[in-house]
């Protein structure tokens, strides 16, 4: 099936669905800020906005780590440790990826 498809072939229906996906995704990306730019925000709402970054980050990694196992938890600990000691995101990232590969082989 895949090998039959020409590399550059563009099915009109597929293109239409892909562009619809693109439009929907763009609307989700801009929707929130469009809303808060349009209305004057009270101090309370702005305070709510300022806790969002940390809250979103926690909401992303919480279930992600909960779904993982000892290898991911140990690698996560390594990331935090390196980040805390060096404050280098690159170093923390490399440590995390190497650690998760190593721990997955070990555990």
């Amino acid at each position: 099936m895949a090998s039959d498809a020409l590399i550059l072939s563009l099915d009109p229906l597929v293109v239409a669905v892909v562009l619809a996906m693109a439009l929907i995704t763009f609307l989700t990306k801009v929707g929130g800020i469009w809303l808060v730019r349009r209305f004057e925000l009270s101090d309370r709402l702005e305070a709510g906005l300022t806790v969002l970054p940390g809250a979103i980050v926690i909401a992303v990694i919480g279930p992600e780590l909960a779904a993982g196992g000892p290898a991911e938890w140990a690698a996560g600990g390594a990331v935090l440790l390196v980040m805390w000691r060096t404050e280098s995101i690159l170093l923390a990232l490399c440590t995390g990826v190497l650690a998760v590969v190593a721990f997955r082989m070990a555990f």
Binding site: L10, F26, R44, P53, A55, I56, I58, A59, A75
Partner: protein
């Protein structure tokens, strides 16, 4: 209700000291063109050096970053920010590339041509939703399922975008919405890191988004062409990159005691939602719950 001018006025009069400043900046924000020119002409170097947190004033800097809505951090949209965003994202973009290859392989297996898969990566620019979409791909195409799932998975971006508003309020609509087109989880996280440390790089998101976009589209093409030659991304730990970036970010976003309540609320909500509801609703609900609790707490 909260948008009611009366409520707003009341909230402002509480913070009487800042009222005039806030009002004047609102007037600025309304004038997109004027607001654009002003920060752009400010000296970016001065702004970034004075705003860089040092060991001594770290606490102050964190406070300023936390209350960025109240401070007048000069957020500029210039080449420095664009370049910083691009360069700082390259290592992360390599990881995104690993995922792009995986997406390309899946797209190829689903029957998409290289051109179709590349078009999707270039225009949608949202990894998780694309991977799920090609997993749903069948003949005939389940159009409604694909589109509804795309919306559900990506709705979290609304919240992420809204979180940028304290820094983006003085940028023009074109710059804001143009930057958001290339926003993905990874470069949003790096952008937050930059803005929180008061670099004032308004173009960071665009620069980092371009790096992610190039890696994502390029890797999609490689993955679709190479097919099954490259194996499972978990072999190389690529699947852990997003978690690692976000974990590293927690170390920077922690603002002491005041973070404890919203973070706990977000974590609990996300864990419970992830158990009960399929998909990625847990991110949206976790963030919303934390923001709601914070709004209530401020009202007391």
């Amino acid at each position: 209700m909260e948008f009611d001018p009366e409520t707003d006025e009341y909230a402002d009069s509480e913070a009487d000291g800042r009222r005039s400043e806030r009002t004047s900046r609102r007037a600025d924000g309304r004038e997109d063109a004027a607001a654009d020119v002003t920060p752009a002409t400010a000296e970016p170097n001065t702004a970034s050096t004075t705003a860089t947190p040092t060991a001594e004033n770290e606490a102050t800097a964190t406070e300023i970053a936390a209350g960025a809505t109240e401070t007048d951090t000069a957020v500029t949209f210039d080449r420095d920010g664009l370049r910083a965003g691009f360069l700082k994202t390259i290592p992360v973009a390599l990881g995104v590339g690993g995922y792009g290859i995986a997406f390309g392989i899946l797209a190829d297996q689903a029957g998409l041509s290289v051109a179709e898969a590349a078009l999707m990566s270039a225009t949608v620019v949202a990894g998780a939703s694309q991977i799920v979409a090609v997993e749903l791909w069948a003949d005939p195409l389940p159009i409604a399922a694909v589109l509804v799932t795309t919306f559900a998975i990506n709705l979290r971006y609304s919240l992420m975008g809204a979180a940028l508003q304290p820094w983006f309020k003085r940028l023009s609509a074109t710059k804001v919405y143009g930057s958001l087109f290339v926003m993905a989880d990874e470069n949003w996280a790096l952008t937050m890191r930059s803005l929180k440390s008061n670099t004032g790089y308004g173009a960071f998101l665009l620069g980092s988004g371009i790096a992610v976009w190039l890696a994502w589209v390029g890797a999609t093409i490689v993955g679709t062409v190479a097919g099954g030659v490259v194996g499972d991304p978990t072999t190389y730990g690529f699947d852990f990159i997003l978690t690692a970036v976000f974990l590293a970010l927690t170390a920077e976003l922690w603002e002491g005691q005041s973070s404890l309540l919203p973070w706990t609320v977000s974590l609990a909500t996300a864990l419970i939602t992830a158990e009960l509801v399929p998909g990625r609703w847990y991110i949206l609900l976790g963030g919303l719950a934390a923001a709601t609790v914070e709004v209530i707490r401020r009202g007391e």
